[in-house]
């Protein structure tokens, strides 16, 4: 699989989109309430951002 260096941009957007879809599914079909959503969305953003930052820094190291 590792024929190319990891494309961090693609990874970050992949995480954001999957996070959005999962959050929406949890809200519409699961038992996430508004309170949980307001936790879930920032968490998705923070995790995606952290992954991007970590991978960028590791690549530079």
């Amino acid at each position: 699989m590792n024929r190319h260096p990891a494309d961090i941009v693609a990874l970050v957007f992949a995480l954001v989109f999957l996070g959005c879809a999962a959050t929406w599914a949890g809200w519409e079909h699961g038992d996430l309430d508004v309170d949980a959503i307001t936790w879930a969305i920032p968490l998705v953003l923070i995790v995606s951002g952290l992954v991007g930052v970590t991978m960028t820094l590791r690549r530079r190291a």
Binding site: M1, N2, R3, H4, P5, A6, D7, I8, V9, A10, L11, F13, A14, L15, V16, F17, L18, C20, A21, A22, W24, A25, E28, R58, R59, R60, A61
Partner: protein, 398 residues
């Protein structure tokens, strides 16, 4: 056929390039009629020196040889009519080149030879024209308006098709950013490689995009079958599923490369999914409910986009409505409820953005609430719960 006109176009371009100083330059006198110099709207350029936004109106005025104010007024007027002006403006912005420039935004994006770009412009203006006609045909204050989804899908597919197939190293932002940094050959070990010239990442290879679109189509079809068999699938489910497929495609593209063009697709899907939380249903149009008896009254009325009229004045057994609750939920719509004088109503209305008018008491703006309670008399009691995203709510006596 298309080989002849680009030559005329290419030879005309440097001429107009030199005219940028004067605003109202007369075209050079033409001697006789030369079919190769026949100008169509695809020859229009965006004005550099006479622009409010992107020089479209200025450029069109020069092309038509009329005052730019006329074009601006007409464009503004057309924008009110179902957004036609906006559609055409954006189309011209994307398709007409900047004054003196060889390529339009779309042309630079697709990076093709001039002849092909002319064809792209022709096709693009044709699509814009169709969109404009659709917009006019379906215009009106919210009523019956619906987004032309099939056309949007076609536009996205065209955009993907018209992308360059050969991967010439133009993606400088990505290649230069990674050029001076050593690479990772594994995800865990940091094995440094000598500074050998790296082969360009094959971003132009669209196989991952098509793989993902293929899986997205399969997933949509499968969900459709699930809906047929078991039911209960709503339209945002499709959007969420496709968003997940695009996300997985991007995840694959992280290591396989060539996945970035999925990002705008995912972005659009995510926005649509967000929008779906505002529209209770995808239904659009006009809903008129005039129940004749209390049994006909539905506990819930919903509408995505359009206008909704609930007329309760024709009910003959009002006493049977006592204690009942009617909930009305709409996205972008105009809601009207006609309540007979012979019942006591409690209204609990909310709108994200718009205007609430309950028996001539009025609240407008963002996130507005209005509660109304009739004096409790012997008359039957009815509760109306109205939850609206965008638009006007009116509750009134006949």
């Amino acid at each position: 056929m298309s080989g002849a006109s680009p030559i005329a176009f290419a030879s005309a371009a440097p001429q107009s390039c030199g005219m940028t100083e004067t605003v109202h330059e007369q075209p050079p006198p033409q001697t006789g009629f030369d079919p190769q110099r026949l100008r169509t709207v695809t020859h229009m350029e965006r004005s550099r020196d006479d622009r409010m936004i992107a020089g479209v109106c200025g450029g069109l005025a020069r092309y038509l040889n009329v005052d730019p104010v006329v074009v601006r007024v007409i464009t503004a007027a057309l924008t009110v009519v179902g957004g036609v002006g906006l559609v055409l403006y954006v189309a011209a912005w994307l398709l007409a080149p900047d004054q003196g420039a060889a390529h339009s935004i779309v042309g630079a994006h697709t990076r093709r030879a001039d002849g092909d770009e002319r064809r792209i412009r022709t096709v693009g203006f044709a699509i814009a024209g169709v969109l404009a006609i659709v917009a006019v045909a379906s215009s009106g204050p919210w009523t019956g308006w619906s987004f032309p989804w099939p056309l949007a899908v076609i536009a996205v597919l065209l955009w993907l098709f018209l992308r360059p197939r050969d991967s010439t190293p133009v993606d400088t932002s990505a290649t230069t950013a990674a050029a001076d940094t050593p690479e990772l050959t594994g995800t865990t070990e940091t094995t440094r490689e000598p500074a050998a010239p790296r082969p360009p990442r094959p971003r132009g290879d669209g196989s991952l995009t098509w793989l993902t679109i293929g899986f997205a189509l399969i997933a949509a079809g499968a969900l459709w079958l699930v809906d047929r068999a078991a039911g209960g699938v709503e339209w945002p489910d499709y959007v969420a599923l496709e968003l997940a497929v695009v996300g997985l495609g991007l995840l694959l593209g992280t290591w396989r490369g060539a996945g970035r063009r999925l990002i705008p697709i995912g972005g659009v899907l995510a926005l649509v999914l967000l929008g779906s939380t505002q529209l209770p249903t995808l239904s659009a149009g006009e809903v008129r409910a005039t129940p004749l008896s209390a049994a006909d009254v539905s506990p819930r009325y919903e509408l995505g986009v359009g206008s909704l009229l609930l007329d309760l004045t024709a009910i003959d057994d009002l006493a049977a409505l006592d204690g009942r609750t009617i909930s009305i939920e709409a996205g972008m719509a105009e809601i009207q409820v006609l309540v007979p004088d012979e019942i006591d109503v409690t209204v609990d209305a909310h709108v994200d953005l718009g205007d609430l008018n309950v028996f001539d008491r009025e609240v407008a703006g963002w996130d507005s609430n209005l509660n109304w309670r009739d004096d409790d008399t012997d008359q039957p009691d009815l509760t109306l719960v109205i939850d609206h995203s965008l638009g006007e709510v009116k509750v009134m006596h006949p």
